[in-house]
């Protein structure tokens, strides 16, 4: 029973309306705190889906406002947070660099959640380096099927974006880049598509049931590496808290136990100088693959090593490093000379020769007496090909313009497209020629493309001559092109 004194106290404590809620729901990333944590990119897509909004709307309208309120715009790059957000399947969003930190911060402010950085690789920022995130989304079909069986929508794991993980450590199958196998069954319009991790972007099939590819069995080495990645992701908070110093201390201890740094470098396929410098300098970082190789050959757990502990890994026996030390063979200069001579007769470029012999252009340039003629011959061939292309384009446009004139139609892009066989993209050479020719024929409304400014005087002269030929049929006053002054 609530008495009047209690009501009086409540009234005196009353604060009126509460502060506004965050614009996005505070749904945490799936499986947060485990190795199967949802990636930030997938989380953004899932949140947008829960809000019944397209992710583009959230990124374009909600997040920029949140970022503005955060007051960090001055420190942020010039563009707003939504710029190129889904390029390479949100690669910048899940990586370990500044843009990922920015995304995590904005998403945290927009949802009121904490710890979204553990849905990215940001905790590894001070420990490792390298291109860790894949350019595309990969999936384990069995994991997606398991999500579906649990009655939930599938989601994209951060593990699947980690380049060193090539298979699913749970189902022991290689990850797939799913492509829709249902040709001709695309959704009626772009409107119908829902961008969601684990759902086909073309036909909307949940769990990519539409795919053609079959997932292959993974090798034990792949499984071990994927397991290591899984454990690293599960331990991200502890790894971040530990910082980079304990890893060095642990590797130093390892070197003391099992031989010197050079011995470890030899076993792990790492350059000795890199390993030595890394041990000396606090700001140096080793690549994730290199650390993984050290763990493979020393039979250690990577997640533990990153926290400064040396713990034996059970499945690593007999694994070799994945990175092979680069070998430098001496250059066979006789072979280079004969290849350059051959290139002159076979009309090949210096680039082709360099590719074939696995040498760089500087090595070829040492044989100047042959290198220069080969380059000049290539340049001449390219110029001829370019000229032929231009002449063909002018000829094509002239024929088309003549046809239009005969039919009494104006020279416009729309009419040109109606000609059928003369379809051209706005960026094509024919389109540029067409625009310049319209100007030459006296059409003052024609807007010359920016590319036209780069056309040489010979080219413009030819277009002008073609316009001369066309003018009687079209009957407009010709405008002289500015090629004589060049």
């Amino acid at each position: 029973m609530h008495d009047l004194a209690d009501a009086t106290q409540l009234w005196s404590e009353a604060t009126g309306p509460l502060v506004a809620a965050t614009p996005l729901y505070g749904i945490p990333p799936r499986c947060a705190g485990t190795g199967e944590v949802e990636s930030l990119f997938s989380h953004l897509l899932s949140l947008s889906f829960a809000q019944r909004l397209a992710p583009r709307q959230v990124v374009s309208h909600v997040l920029p406002e949140v970022e503005e309120k955060l007051g960090v715009m001055a420190m942020a790059p010039r563009h707003q947070v939504g710029w190129a957000w889904d390029k390479h399947a949100g690669k910048q969003m899940v990586g370990m660099h500044q843009s990922a930190a920015r995304w995590a911060r904005v998403m945290e402010a927009a949802t009121g959640l904490a710890g979204l950085r553990f849905s990215t690789l940001l905790p590894l920022e001070l420990l490792t380096t390298g291109n860790l995130v894949t350019d595309e989304e990969r999936v384990c079909i069995d994991c997606l099927a398991a999500d579906k069986a649990d009655g939930q929508m599938p989601y994209g794991r951060l593990l699947w974006r980690l380049r060193p993980a090539t298979c699913c450590p749970l189902h022991l199958k290689r990850l797939l880049v799913p492509t829709c196998g249902r040709k001709g069954r695309l959704l009626a319009s772009d409107y119908g598509r829902i961008k969601l991790s684990g759902v086909c972007g073309s036909c909307g099939s949940i769990g990519h049931a539409c795919r053609k590819e079959k997932s292959e069995e993974a090798s034990p080495e792949e499984v071990w590496r994927a397991e290591q990645c899984l454990r690293v992701l599960a331990a991200l908070p502890s790894i971040e808290q530990a910082g980079p110093a304990p890893v060095r201390a642990a590797v130093r201890a390892l070197c003391t136990e099992r031989g010197a740094v050079s011995s470890l470098a030899f076993r792990a396929g790492a350059p000795k100088s890199v390993l030595t410098q890394w041990l000396k300098h606090e700001e140096w970082r080793l690549s994730f693959d290199q650390l993984l190789d050290i763990c493979a050959v020393e039979e250690l757990e990577l997640a533990e090593l990153l926290q400064g502990r040396l713990v034996a890994s059970s499945g690593a026996a007999g694994l070799a490093p994945s990175r092979v030390r680069r070998r430098r063979d001496p250059v066979d200069h006789d072979a280079v000379r004969s290849a350059l001579v051959q290139a002159l007769t076979e009309k090949r470029s210096v680039t082709d020769v360099a590719k074939e012999l696995h040498v760089d252009l500087a090595t070829l340039a040492k044989h100047r007496d042959l290198y220069v003629p080969v380059r000049e011959a290539s340049a001449k061939r390219n110029a001829e090909a370019e000229e032929a292309r231009h002449l063909a384009a002018i000829q094509k446009v002239e024929t088309m313009a003549s046809n239009l004139a005969k039919r009494g139609k104006r020279l416009t892009h729309r009419n040109a497209l109606c000609e059928g066989s003369y379809c051209f993209a706005p960026s094509s050479v024919e389109s540029v020629v067409f625009s310049v020719m319209r100007t030459a024929l006296g059409d003052r409304r024609a807007k010359g493309p920016a590319v036209a400014a780069r056309l040489g005087p010979r080219y413009l002269q030819r277009i002008s001559e073609a316009a001369d030929r066309l003018r009687p049929g079209i009957g407009q006053v010709q405008i002289p092109l500015a090629f004589r002054g060049d």
Binding site: T8, T15, G16, A50, I194, V199, G204
Partner: protein, 377 residues
């Protein structure tokens, strides 16, 4: 205007609770009196007076808001101008916070909307749902789209405009994700313009059923009472909370006032102490007139005396004149109309409100009378 208006979380903490007290306020009357008329009036009108009827309503509201009980619809009913909206604006969030002290940043414990009265001949649920969604923190409502799963394929449903069913679905998602514990409709007597009462009651019931922890609150005048008392299914899960006015006895006496009269006089005393002009009218002496002129409603009284203060400030020496009183208080014809509606409303609510269970049955006494064994123990 940059002034420190009285707020509930002011520096000046009020003393121990008394039956009648002003809300905590940052400025005292002496400080305010030196300020311009506009600021003084604003300060005065923002003061909320706490009185027994208000506290009783808050206490009952607190009981009904307990998440454990099965009451899903709470109707806060009272005469026009008594201060229902002020009450819910002020303390509803605090009430909800008592039962759910931890609030996550995305959560919206209370979502109050006003039922629209925009000239449409019939009520549009779409408008109410939309307002509710905004109150629940919804963003980009016009950009929302429905998704359907057919044969394990997910696709957005193309529609030229968001239909009623879709809007409802979006609202339900919003209520669930934002963990709304109280969904309120102020001015809910406007709902009566809805064509079919049955359909409306079904909709209200389903709104309250969106999730277990959500309650629906209807705030309005006596007109909404029949909605809850007519339908048995709703009556089972709803409670009517009557925010009552003070009654003047047939022969009021200065020296022996009734409980209602004493409480009203306490409020008048406080108003007089807070009067925003140097020359305060003798409100306590005219208590019988004021209680009659405001029909016992503290809200209506506050509105009229604020008007009186405003008129008083318009004069050079800020003296209260007879003409001001004549203008500030409601004329008899209007008062009679309001009173007639109040009396009819109170009559219709008799025996239907929270705390009015029938205890005439002698067997009911066993519930609160201790048994002999207990007495011995």
């Amino acid at each position: 205007m940059n002034m420190n208006l009285p707020t509930s979380s002011g520096d000046c903490v009020t003393p121990a609770p008394t039956p009648c007290q002003a809300t905590p306020q940052r400025l005292t009357r002496d400080e305010v009196l030196s300020r311009p008329a506009e600021e003084r009036l604003s300060w005065f009108s923002s003061i909320t007076y706490v009185h027994p009827k208000l506290l009783q309503t808050v206490a009952h509201l607190q009981e009904l808001m307990e998440p454990a009980n099965d009451i899903k619809i709470i109707a806060l009913i009272g005469p026009t101008g008594i201060g229902k909206t002020t009450l819910i604006d002020k303390c509803l969030h605090s009430l909800v916070q008592r039962f759910a002290p931890v609030r996550l940043p995305h959560e919206v414990p209370v979502a109050m909307v006003a039922a629209p009265a925009n000239g449409e001949r019939s009520l549009s649920w779409r408008t109410i749902y939309r307002r509710m969604q905004i109150a629940c923190g919804g963003v980009l409502l016009d950009q929302q789209r429905k998704a359907d799963i057919t044969n394990d394929e997910l696709a957005a449903v193309r529609a030229d405009r968001i239909g009623l069913a879709q809007r409802r679905e979006f609202l339900e998602a919003e209520v669930r994700h934002r963990r709304v514990r109280l969904l309120g409709i102020d001015e809910s007597h406007h709902l009566l313009r809805f064509g079919s009462s049955d359909a409306m009651m079904d909709t209200l019931k389903s709104l309250a059923d969106i999730q277990a922890e959500t309650k629906l609150m209807l705030v309005g005048t006596y007109q909404i009472a029949p909605l809850l008392t007519t339908y048995g299914q709703l009556a089972r899960r709803s409670a009517i909370l009557h925010y009552q006015r003070y009654h003047l006895s047939d022969q009021p006496k200065d020296d022996s006032p009734t409980e209602d009269e004493a409480a009203f006089r306490e409020v008048l005393k406080k108003v007089e102490e807070d009067w925003p002009c140097e020359d305060a009218p003798n409100l306590q002496a005219a208590w019988k007139f004021i209680i009659r002129a405001s029909l016992g409603s503290v809200g209506l009284m506050k509105m009229q005396v604020t008007q009186l203060a405003s008129l008083q400030m318009g004069h050079k020496r800020e003296r209260v004149r007879k003409l001001d009183v004549q203008r500030a208080f409601k004329p008899p014809k209007m008062l009679n109309q309001i009173e007639a509606e109040m009396v009819a409303g109170e009559e219709s609510l008799r025996g239907a409100c929270y705390g009015e269970a029938d205890l005439d049955d002698p067997d009911s006494a066993a519930l609160w009378t201790p048994t002999l064994e207990k007495r011995r123990a």
